[in-house]
Symmetry: C2
Subunit: 353 residues, 2 copies
């Protein structure tokens, strides 16, 4: 008489991993304890005897079980994700912020998740919506300028929000960054006091790069107070920034040969300009001074060191992450304001006074 297997015990064995995704129950059956105990072991929570713990861990490893955080998050109402939203990864600046964040979050149990907006407010809105729908523990977002809908979402999310890079504006919650207006001003002051007077500005065309704009505004304002104006401007968009820096510099100096200083809105175009000037044999910084912005370490490899201003990118990432992780020792529960001070790096392209 052939034995008929009991239908209940004939459930498909959890051997074939592709057949059915593994659940806690599989581990629980394989190790002979309840699901709850397995859950406790895998999360290192509560008291579990060493013997049981070992049994469970062995079973879990053997099956190749990977916990389902979706279910876990739903049940516990806790998500260890931090949404990080930046405009771009194409230039060196944001990757460095991101690594500051990752690094700081590393041993907090929190996990950064990155989103990119391409400087588009609509994209920002949809990226935020998408990310918030995963109920992260916090949001780090670049800039203070957002659509009304984005601001509303962030405010309503009921989680810590940190706006980064920039402090010139009205934060939703916390903010970590530098004042780009002040950065512009400071550069202007340095230029003026080095004796330059006929100044050109080269920047990006992107209307959504508010920070570059603020630098220009601060720059211009400070110049104006010294009775100096910007004599010529040139804006670009797209393409290799280094190449654009060359082209724009060539174009501007052809048009306005009397300029004695060029202020670039970022280091990359500044570097392009510098290379061009050196090739042409222009006396830098004697006849013509140059400066950029960001302090990217690329500049270290240039024939001459471009004057720039460090944007404290890594530190911004770190401080923002600390606020989210609740490690900032301010005692505040939110609404922190951290203004870092960018350091002017005079390099070799501004006359020493």
């Amino acid at each position: 008489m052939s034995r008929q297997p009991d239908p209940d015990t004939r459930r498909p064995l959890p051997r074939n991993p592709a057949l059915r995704p593994l659940t806690l129950r599989d581990v629980s059956e394989a190790s002979g304890v309840s699901e709850m105990t397995v859950s406790r072991v895998l999360r290192n929570r509560g008291d579990v005897s060493d013997a049981t713990r070992d049994k469970v861990l062995v079973a879990a490893k053997m099956l190749g079980y990977v916990p389902n955080k979706i279910a876990g998050a739903l049940a516990s109402q806790r998500v260890n994700l931090v949404a990080v939203v930046v405009p771009s990864l194409g230039n060196l600046v944001f990757p460095e912020v991101l690594s500051g964040i990752s690094e700081t979050l590393e041993d907090t149990g929190l996990q950064p998740v990155f989103g990119v907006t391409n400087y588009s407010p609509e994209r920002e809105e949809s990226v935020l919506y998408e990310m918030l729908s995963w109920r992260p523990s916090g949001v780090i977002v670049a800039g203070l300028e957002h659509s009304d809908a984005s601001r509303a979402m962030l405010r309503n999310a009921g989680i810590p929000i940190v706006e980064i890079m920039d402090v010139d504006g009205d934060p939703i919650d916390s903010v970590v960054g530098i004042s780009h207006v002040r950065a512009g001003r400071e550069m202007a002051r340095a230029i003026i006091s080095a004796g330059y007077r006929r100044i050109g500005f080269l920047g990006t065309k992107m209307p959504e790069d508010y920070r570059a704009r603020k630098r220009m505004q601060g720059f211009e304002a400070e110049l104006a107070e010294a009775g100096v104006g910007i004599e010529d401007r040139e804006f670009y968009s797209g393409g290799s920034a280094l190449a654009k820096g060359r082209e724009m510099t060539a174009a501007m100096l052809a048009r306005s040969p009397n300029l004695d200083f060029l202020y670039y809105s970022n280091d990359m175009i500044g570097a392009g300009g510098l290379l061009w000037c050196l090739e042409k044999g222009i006396d830098v910084p004697g006849k013509l001074g140059l400066a950029g912005f960001n302090g990217v370490d690329l500049l270290d490899g240039l024939p001459r060191k471009l004057a720039t201003m460090d944007a404290c990118r890594r530190e911004i990432g770190q401080r923002a992450a600390q606020i989210i992780a609740g490690q900032s020792n301010s005692g505040l529960v939110g609404g922190e304001r951290v203004e870092l001070t960018p350091r002017l790096q005079p390099g070799d392209t501004i006359r020493k006074v």
Copy 2:
């Protein structure tokens, strides 16, 4: 007689968004329809009358409701996330891959989520574990070299896996990339046929950068077949790649002044080397040829164009994303192999033959 409000209707009003996170039920009550109908409206699924739809949308917008994808994913067993795991964001190469991915995924309803491993297999393992625990619809991961545990996890995940950048090895599922061995060979061939014979190699010290190593192996093998060896090598780690390129070039030429070609494992150090050579007035490419690898558009702005080989980064991202999205028209369900061919860009730093 004062009316006593029915306790059931006295639930806290969903006015204060910080008090309690909103749920479908709040929207359902606010709009007077069932939760299911709200769900249908917000997902654009199933038949809903226009009148009802409007009511719901108005209520949702008014409350500022953001759906909870955690619950949604758990219930529907569907997650619109694609895990993307790369070793680094610091050089220009991966951001470009990522944007190829984002761009392609844009209108598929899928959302990329990025993770960074810093070239560490342990970190890769934990990043993968973390990401898989969110049950993504697919994984895109750089490289073919992974820890056994990582491979097992990926294989067991039961979702499409695409390994990218490199095709020289044994893929888990699908693979999209170039052959770095072949790339190294091709560069060697070009160098040999341009008449260079005394060759130096400059690269990164990272033992985990398998692709750079494969390029060197291919390069060396091809040279060997022409009866030529690598006469000198120099490796670096950390710091500004541009600056390192200078230093290493200076050091190598001081040590081995007879070299007539320098092959750099990436464009950035190559660019540093090029700048240094030009400064020193070395005859490039007459007395000394130079080449890098990657085809980063930074090179466009250099005084002279460095020879390089395009790694097809954006296209790799696009093709990988297509496979995950099921858009690749191969008819295969998995296990695709896409080998792209890097194009040699001779630039101005290899003698014309």
